[in-house]
Amino acid sequence: MSFVPVILWTDGLIFALLGGVLALVWFIRRHPHLSAPWAAVARRPMATGAALVLAVFVVIGLLDSLHYRARLSDSPPGRPQYSVEVLSVFDKLVGKLRTHQEKTYSAPLAMQLYAKEFVERDGASVRDYPRLKYGGAHLKRADERMPDIVRRALVGVAQGLAVGVLLFGLLAAWQTRRRRIALRPWLASWARGGLSWPGRTLVLVVALLLMLGAVTVRLAAGYHVFGTDKVGQDVLYITLKSIRTGLVIGTLTTLVTLPLAIVLGVAAGYFRGWVDDVIQYVYTVLNSIPGVLLIAASVLIVQVAIEANPERFDTAAARADIRLLALCLIMGVTSWTGLARLLRGESLKLRTLDYVEAARAFGVSHARIISRHIFPNVFHLVLISIVLDFSGLVLAEAVLSYVGVGVDPSMYSWGNMINGARLELAREPVVWWQLTAAFTFMFTLVLAANLFADGVRDAFDPRREGRP
């Protein structure tokens, strides 16, 4: 084999999570009372549009979670040796973005380096901006750059539109055939927004995403779309690689939070007495420590542990991955208290309701009462808190990396990008592209998550029914 698959800890957990989500989707689809609120989410234009954007991020993150180590080309056929560099399927797909490395900074879509150097020209050595090795290398003269960029962008838009129209045609054909109506009335009701799902938003968002994607691909083939960083690496590549880190932190942390919050919160509310006292004590103690400090203290300790056992990690990626996992664990352990308190309050109310009393009178066991009567009635709170927490966690990563207790410095993350680039604003001329790229991508992900979360909350929270 020319490669050996590598399953990092977070990879395994992410795919386990994906499996869990798919199983949950299958379960929900079979129960009409569970799928009704999701149908309500899908009817909201904002929420569906946001979900589409999120889906793009998730796909990139998943592709970036399939890791492997390539076989060294000079290794003997009998005993294969593999590179220490851990790559992912995503790296393979974007190929040249990763390997096209310049010398140092260059502006977005530039064909020259950011700094002046001595270059040979007509036999004499002059001080000028040298040409980039890859960015705009196909151009002969500087004045060809702008027309070339515009041409590539237009071709990209056209291609994106073409694919969009094709997809729309397929959608129309499928819908009209399924509902046995003519194309014209279906188009009319689509344009009016009269469909049972937000058709206009969906088509618009897909078309926009396709165009953006196509333009980026077109431009990235000849240029560094977001420029290059200090060591000459393509900023677009770094930004895209950071998506996985953000997603891992946003999802795996919740995975840690959930069991703690559900078990402890429901137990405290349902059993009351000394169980309640102990659990309340534990979460008051955890809550009273300022969050960042507790995370910082724990991360420092994990760092010491990792540095004390360097022999356990065969690659740098494995070490960075353990630190990422530890960060998720720590953030999960410090952030379950809010949800636990909420679940405790709700369980306190539920346990006095007639049907729970009746179940108890029939001699139903505690475990059964909790799983059949209490948990299904607090599940909406769990779901709302998962989607609401996600965006906060993605933002927290950047702050923690700035404090120095975030992900490993060698890992691609928006926090590390911002941290590394913020001092470059003092340069003349300003190096603005790294910060802009990181903030733009982070903003897009968080905004999409927030809009989606609002949709989910409005659909699931029974108190919000009929309210704007």
Partner: protein
């Protein structure tokens, strides 16, 4: 009332003990002083002598919980736990790695922290309440709808962006205010303006949206309908009735934060070079100064618990229906 406060104070003691035990476990049991010394001394192959010397210098050369060799009560007092953890209850924090007394640092750095944090809180609440009231006044119109969307957009922007953009545009490009720094007295005014402005703007998104929900909840209640039925104008209803009752959750939310203001804000202070407790903490984390981090954890929890007690007292003060016994 007095007995209630006393009881709450007593209840705080086990929580502080819990915090203390947790930090003790984190810093000394999971992670032995030897590990700390190795991290601090840096090199991969440090000699055992160097580690011992470091431990003696920082007072970490004692046994953890029980000193078998010491006579009398020193068996318990001449230990790491007593000297470094139990001593915190007397607010004796010892010395940081730079040799300075932590208690002293805390006292001098509280002022600058407060100079930033207090205006941020007060102006922030004022601005957020104003925006929230405007949105509620125009509720169910496009103004309200777009107000909420703007709030979501504002809260989706990273806090770091507000700071970096504020420093770059206001201080560097337009030269309106100093980029960072601090000075005492009246000179300090121009230094605190930018951090306060940035922090307030960064908080508008989540703050205004949160207050809007509170006011909307209040506006659906019966007494509001009665007030309208009496023929009061919408403005009067909003300001005399809704605002007054909505202030109860707002005020109690603010009171719990009051003591924590002393701790300052980690990020803001370190970006703007404010010599407060926030930048002190961040420097300690980056220098891996465990003694300072431990002290700040204890101080933070103490102030949080004080905040909780103040919240309960303020409840009974603003809401006559609540009686503390």
């Amino acid at each position: 009332m007095l007995s209630y406060i006393l009881r709450r104070l007593l209840y705080a003691v086990p929580i502080l003990i819990g915090v203390n035990l947790l930090t003790f476990a984190l810093f000394f049991v999971v992670n032995t002083p030897d590990d700390m010394a190795r991290l601090q001394l840096g090199a991969k192959h440090v000699t055992p002598e160097a580690i011992d010397r470091w431990k003696v210098e920082h007072g970490y050369d004692k046994p953890l919980l029980l000193n078998e060799r010491a006579p009398g009560s020193a068996r318990f007092t001449d230990t790491i736990f007593f000297r470094h953890s139990a001593a915190m209850f007397a607010f004796r924090f010892g010395k940081g790695d730079d040799g300075r007394d932590i208690g002293n640092e805390i006292r001098t750095r509280m002022g600058p922290s407060l100079a930033i944090a207090l205006p941020v809180l007060l102006i922030g609440v004022l601005v957020n309440v104003t925006f929230a009231l405007l949105m509620v006044f125009f509720r169910a119109t496009y103004l309200d709808l777009w107000g909420v969307v703007v709030c979501v957009v504002l809260m989706s922007i990273s806090g770091l962006f507000y700071i970096i953009a504020g420093q770059y545009f206001i201080a560097k490009l337009w030269n309106l205010l100093p980029i960072s720094g601090f000075a005492g007295g009246i000179d300090g005014f121009r230094f605190i303006l930018l951090p306060v402005l940035v922090s307030v703007v960064a908080g508008i998104g989540s703050g205004a949206r949160w207050y809007r929900t509170i006011f909307l909840e209040e506006i659906g209640k019966d007494y509001v309908r009665t007030a309208r039925a009496k023929g009061l104008s919408e403005v009067r209803v909003l300001f005399r009735h809704v605002l007054k009752n909505g202030m109860i959750p707002i005020l109690t939310g603010v009171v719990v934060l009051l003591p924590l203001l002393f701790m300052g804000s980690l990020i803001t202070e370190s970006f703007f070079g404010i010599p407060g407790l926030g930048s002190y903490t961040i420097d300690a984390i980056q220098a891996q100064d465990f003694a300072v981090v431990r002290a700040m954890v204890f101080l933070g929890s103490f102030l949080y618990i004080v905040g909780l007690i103040l919240t309960d007292i303020s409840y009974s003060w603003v809401d006559p229906r609540v009686r503390l016994r």
